[in-house]
């Protein structure tokens, strides 16, 4: 027994040595300081699961009404996201498009409807290239319209795993690769009519994620990333690769693109404004500007008339 005993102990010891540093304490501290809520899905899974039910219903209705459910290829290679990763590097990565409305359901459906026709690929950069130890964007809006944007610190690897694991449906597949100093992870989900490709390319170019989901998948992502931010005003990451938005289930705000170049942010904002969203304001802004939102343009909080804002 002694031989096996010693070998297993050495094995565990070496594994422990290989374990990377975790950001968990920082997550706790940040969440306590900012909202007394827990970021992402840590500890919020039961609530998120419950919330997923109405979200699924909403998404299903949206899919039925708008015919928005898209049968995607089995899975999409990550080449497109790899291509956009460079665009997301540096300061440009902080550009985002934000929509603010009062009816999340209507907003989500409207965005989904419009996004279905939007073919541009956008990447999500939950990992800030400027602060590579941070991963998930978090936005709060004050009563006066001021905005605070920060990034919750999170283990990239953990985030990727969570993203895949918590969207777990039959056929999920995962790949991870540890590239030394630059961690690269890829998560591939393959379902009957759903494809999720999550790629990370951590290094000088930052981090990119691409998600293709059906309605149920969107709801799952929303429940994963959104419901934990139960306090109104939180925004979760989202993107529109091939026209699939992900929305926050909890707040009144919808982030439909992040990690975009300024040009893409403007174009997406223009696109969304072309057919105004209900009760919403669309703006493209640089969240790291301390002076508050740097709106490219904005529409009033009431639905504008036909033809744009």
């Amino acid at each position: 027994m002694t031989d096996v005993d010693g070998a297993l102990k050495r094995f565990a010891d070496q594994s422990a040595e290989h374990a990377g540093d975790a950001d968990f304490l920082d997550v706790i501290e940040r969440s306590r300081r900012r909202s007394s809520r827990f970021p992402l899905s840590i500890g919020a899974r039961p609530r998120a699961r419950r919330a997923a039910v109405p979200l699924v219903a909403v998404a299903a209705v949206a899919a039925t009404v708008f015919g928005a459910t898209v049968v995607l290829p089995a899975w999409r290679e990550s080449a497109t996201t790899a291509g956009t990763a460079g665009d997301c590097a540096g300061k440009k990565a902080t550009w985002l498009v934000q929509s603010r409305g009062v009816d999340v359901g209507r907003l989500a459906r409207a965005v989904e409807q419009r996004a279905a026709a939007f073919t541009e690929d956008f990447c999500v950069v939950p990992r800030d290239p400027i602060a590579p130890d941070r991963s998930l964007v978090e936005v709060r809006l004050g009563d006066d319209g001021s905005r605070t944007v920060d990034y919750t610190t999170f283990s990239t690897r953990f985030l990727v795993y969570k993203a895949v694991k918590d969207i777990c449906l039959p056929g999920q597949e995962v790949r991870t690769t540890d590239g030394g100093d630059h961690y690269t992870a890829q998560a591939v989900y393959v379902g009957d009519n759903v494809a999720l490709v999550t790629t990370t390319n951590v290094g000088a170019d930052g981090w990119s994620v691409s998600v293709d989901l059906d309605a149920a998948g969107i709801a799952e992502v929303a429940s994963l990333a959104g419901t934990a931010h139960d306090a109104p005003g939180y925004v979760v990451f989202a993107e529109i690769p091939g026209g699939r938005p992900v929305w926050s289930s909890s707040g009144e705000h919808l982030l439909v693109g992040h990690g975009l170049t300024e040009e893409k942010a403007r174009r997406l904002a223009d696109f969304l404004r072309a057919e105004p969203l209900p009760d919403s304001r669309v703006s493209a802004a640089d969240p790291r500007d301390d002076g508050g939102p740097v709106s490219v343009s904005s529409s009033p909080s009431t639905p504008p008339g036909p033809g744009g804002c």
Binding site: V4, R10, F11, A16, H18, F38, G171, Q172
Partner: protein, 169 residues
């Protein structure tokens, strides 16, 4: 999350820093992957944090985290075949890495061939230093079952790693 009061975050932080790596090491025996062990341990700590007021009163809070992590590992195990197929298909070389010793690599391969239950038993007994009775209690199985799993697991590892006592003696 902490319904009803503030969490003793300093206490939790000390607890986290004190035993996270050890638990990752232990769970790596079960999951044969450091990265996955980190993930389940991370999530188990999150669960512990949410119940920290209660968990901190336990004689051994780490045992709670270990148990949660094992449950998560078990759930993960159920999808491991698909995951493994993807890893193989996508050609990922993820673990062990270049830093690993030959013994480490061999043992990782040997562990992967063991049934999940045997890996759990080996981990709890050899790396978590739990008694057979305690393992049986935690896993809710008879002690004889634990002994059988340990025996088979050791035998399989010895066979794979040429740890035949006659050879080593």
């Amino acid at each position: 999350m902490t319904n009803g009061g503030r969490v003793d975050e300093r206490g939790f932080a000390d607890f986290y820093e004190g035993c996270r790596r050890r638990l990752v090491g232990e769970l790596s025996v079960v999951l044969t992957s450091v990265a996955e062990a980190e993930d389940v341990v991370q999530e188990a700590f999150a669960v512990a944090y949410l119940q920290w007021r209660k968990v901190s009163s336990y004689d051994e809070p780490a045992a709670f985290v270990r148990r949660v992590a094992l449950n998560l590992a078990w759930k993960r195990q159920r999808t491991s075949r698909r995951r493994g197929a993807a890893v193989e298909r996508l050609g990922a070389a993820r673990w062990p890495d270049d830093r690993s010793s030959e013994e480490y690599v061999d043992l990782a391969a040997a562990l992967r061939d063991l049934p999940f239950d045997q890996r759990v038993a080996l981990m709890l007994f050899h790396t978590a230093d739990m008694s057979v009775a305690a393992i049986a209690h935690q896993l809710d199985v008879p002690e004889g079952t634990v002994k059988a799993r340990l025996s088979r697991g050791r035998a399989a590892l010895r066979a794979r790693l040429a740890y035949d006592e006659e050879t080593t003696s």
